[in-house]
Subunit: 418 residues, 2 copies
Amino acid sequence: MDSINATIITIGDELLIGQVIDTNSAFIAQALNKIGVAVVNRIAVGDDAEAIKDALDAAAVKNKIVIITGGLGPTADDITKPLLNNYFGGKLVVHEPSLAHITYIFEEIHKRPMIDRNRKQAEVPNVCEVLFNEKGTAPGMLFKKNGVFFFSLPGVPHEMKWLTETHVVPIIQKNFSSNFIGHRTLLTAGIGESFLAELIAPFEQALPSEIKLAYLPNFGMVRLRLTGSNSEEQILNKTLNSLFESLKKAVVDYLVIDADEPMEVVVGNLLKAKNHTVATAESCTGGYIGHLLSKHAGSSQFYTGGIISYDNRIKSEFLDVSPSILQTVGAVSKEAVEQMALAVRAKMGTDYAISVSGIMGPSGQTDEKPLGMVWIGVANKEKVVSKLFYLRFDRARNIEVTATQAINLLRLLIINKI
Amino acid sequence: MDSINATIITIGDELLIGQVIDTNSAFIAQALNKIGVAVVNRIAVGDDAEAIKDALDAAAVKNKIVIITGGLGPTADDITKPLLNNYFGGKLVVHEPSLAHITYIFEEIHKRPMIDRNRKQAEVPNVCEVLFNEKGTAPGMLFKKNGVFFFSLPGVPHEMKWLTETHVVPIIQKNFSSNFIGHRTLLTAGIGESFLAELIAPFEQALPSEIKLAYLPNFGMVRLRLTGSNSEEQILNKTLNSLFESLKKAVVDYLVIDADEPMEVVVGNLLKAKNHTVATAESCTGGYIGHLLSKHAGSSQFYTGGIISYDNRIKSEFLDVSPSILQTVGAVSKEAVEQMALAVRAKMGTDYAISVSGIMGPSGQTDEKPLGMVWIGVANKEKVVSKLFYLRFDRARNIEVTATQAINLLRLLIINKI
């Protein structure tokens, strides 16, 4: 039994001129992978009938599943529905449950009169199976041709997600049986990609050919992923688990977590397990660390709050960084971040604190303090520890890396490694 | 003269299993658009030699420019370089300037001995033109075949960006002449996509056929984009400018800004123009508003700082939200956000303040306060204004929409519309 292959086609000029970043494809790929469907191609095309038809033709050659997102809105640039209607030789008819739902959304939720344009969203080709869209006004659609399933979903992320989970995945599971696909991912910190490769060279050379090893460097850390597939789920899991244990042993000195979790989730779980809390004092990251700590459900169990001391005055007035520190060693200094961490921890009454102060760019550097220079501090009731980093990225990435490294430094404090 | 077409090929299994979101393509597409190159396809393929070759073959049929990113790292899963070497019939030779640069990075910056694996990164096919990578260890490469230019760039975003700007763009400009492509984008708020389409129906119907109008709804707002191309830049600009003026007039009651700028940049510019400052008091967004306000260069001119009052205790202790408010109407209330805005503004001494408190999900709702209920407050020295929103998204999107709507409410206060 082979794997079932899928192609994702995303539609919209905004994807081709770089106005919008495609996050839908990653979600769909993950959902399909979980049920043994391998995405072998992702194609973005514009709002252009010929280009879309070409992509559909090409996708049908090598895949059993084609997922199409975008172009289902109520405006003239949304051409996907009439095009699919034409491509599959149907005619547009009103889908009554969708019409009732759209009417409900406008009259009961938006409290606005519905217009023709909205009513037209309830029209669907009579050659498709409608995927009822509880979350929005554009119905999803399933077309079948020569054994290939074409799913058309709106591009609005939360509608696409809901339709994928409640319609697409169950329909595929019911109609196709495929090899199981398995991944095991771990996160390392404190070692570069090439040195990591040397460290695990014996492991990598001994890997069976059907198992792939991938290196995913990011934020100054490296994730390692093992991937395999097999018709027997048990055999696959046994193989992957055994290899994953060897891999973990090989990287034990650098291992952060043996799961595909972002750093802030790893640290959140450490805190939750001990009922501990953390507060943040952020200068150069401007709230991004707070955002990372609070973006996942359940974060109120461990994240108490923070001070964003973007202006130096706030560092003095809210975090007791003395004017003499600011005047002598400055805001980007060991003294400043240690005081910030101590103050926010004491004032917010938490078990731990994180603080950062640095120069994210593109300007603000001095002769002594180059672009990318960042001090990070962490504190608990026993001690305060700080570390200096020199980052070499642009502003956006410097902010991301600083935040991730700061949360990692907290992790090291929690597990008594610093 | 036709437009020059390009395809972007991104390489990496991580893109197909949904482990990583592709932000490189958007950057490259924008950079190419600016010089009149239209990206007509974006394809993501795995670390698979056959799939990559197929993508290269297909791309060369319809395009003059092919941009390949990813797979140039030092580990075994990075197969792009040997594959391209093979595809274009070359042999690998050491590129001395790159070797010197890699040596410098390891010995002078990382202060670590260089290993063979790193040295190998300086090897390049002898049939390519090397694009010297000042920002990293993997050289960029340019291959030419039958008039098609194939650029291979590392997938690390800041390296890819630097190589695109300093090598790819100038090389294309020197070797190709193409139609100019122009876009004009504006942002509206306060009107849904379908009603906006009705409002501008006369404008849309009268549009010349060579100009495209696109609707880009996001965060409860809609951007409108006009796109055209012409061999004469002046003619193109004249046509687009004139149509854009008409479009602006048609949407004047809902117009936020006549440029493709995010809301926080619009508001940042309004504040900078008057030398005004803002502070934030965030509960449910946990620092994300601070992050948006501070992520762009120059934000220290107007963003002073904030309090992240994630825990209710912080709302009382730092923002003087009285226990009686918390006990009667609760933290998600008009009273709470208005007090939060007043307090953070007074304590941080700013001209304006933003505050938010809401229920982002997936839990935390009560009978009276459903998921997605959010109060937003803004204040200046004359008044405090608050507004209630009911959002219907998932946690991540609720946070984003809340932040954008909060910054929009500040905009309305600044321009005296509330």
